[in-house]
Symmetry: C2
């Protein structure tokens, strides 16, 4: 597992392991927002497993790039909703594509008979890791 983490390039903060020139934390946020539409900042923090302070800055970054916007949360004067702009949705789509490409390139190097197996195992592993 240690080997995999290192080889996968997860310690390069300024680009995704898939080669896109997007800071990795922003890529995660884009993914969540693209999948689920507008989110409360609080929810976004929960999904990314980040503190609210970190998330606040992260959203500010996204806005600075023109990828997201804050809208007042209706019904609660404190909160805000974070929503992707069209540009942000585009960026998210590009990232998803690059990710799919990278993954399929890796999978191509797995012996054909084992591929389904590897995917299944990864699923189990993610499950086992998620629920503490």
């Amino acid at each position: 597992m240690v080997r995999f983490v290192r080889a996968f390039g997860l310690h390069q903060p300024d680009q995704t392991p898939c080669g896109q020139p997007v800071p990795v934390s922003e890529a995660h946020a884009l993914g969540e927002l693209a999948r689920d539409g507008a989110l409360r900042q609080h929810d976004l923090a929960h999904r990314l497993r980040l503190e609210k302070s970190t998330t606040s800055r992260l959203v500010t970054q996204l806005i600075k790039r023109g990828w997201a916007e804050r809208i007042p949360a209706h019904g609660d004067g404190r909160g805000v909703l974070v929503r992707l702009t069209p540009d942000g949705a585009n960026a998210a789509a590009r990232l998803a594509e690059a990710r799919a490409l990278r993954f399929s390139a890796i999978l191509d190097r797995v012996p054909p008979g084992e591929r389904a197996n590897v995917l299944h195992a990864l699923e189990l592993l993610a499950n086992a890791t998620e629920h503490p």
Copy 2:
């Protein structure tokens, strides 16, 4: 895979995903040094997939903690060898133990019949990712 990365806690820079209060990059370095003995700084950089400047700073940190020392590389006046001190070897052993514990805790949450399978798949995946 994205799910796994996030759940595993790899974006927490000041502690290993295994809960040890050791900066994660130092943990990687300790692992390599413990496994292979003294290393040229250049080699260490190569294994960790880091730049030489980053590695230099990393080694300086390890020395500041009393975990490593630089010795002149015999036969080459430029280079240095990095070697763990006894304290460093201890720290590396503690980390290895914590890692084993964390991994086995995750594995415990995988259905028993699938465990061998998951381990085998992880091996294949690391291989596929390592060789570009």
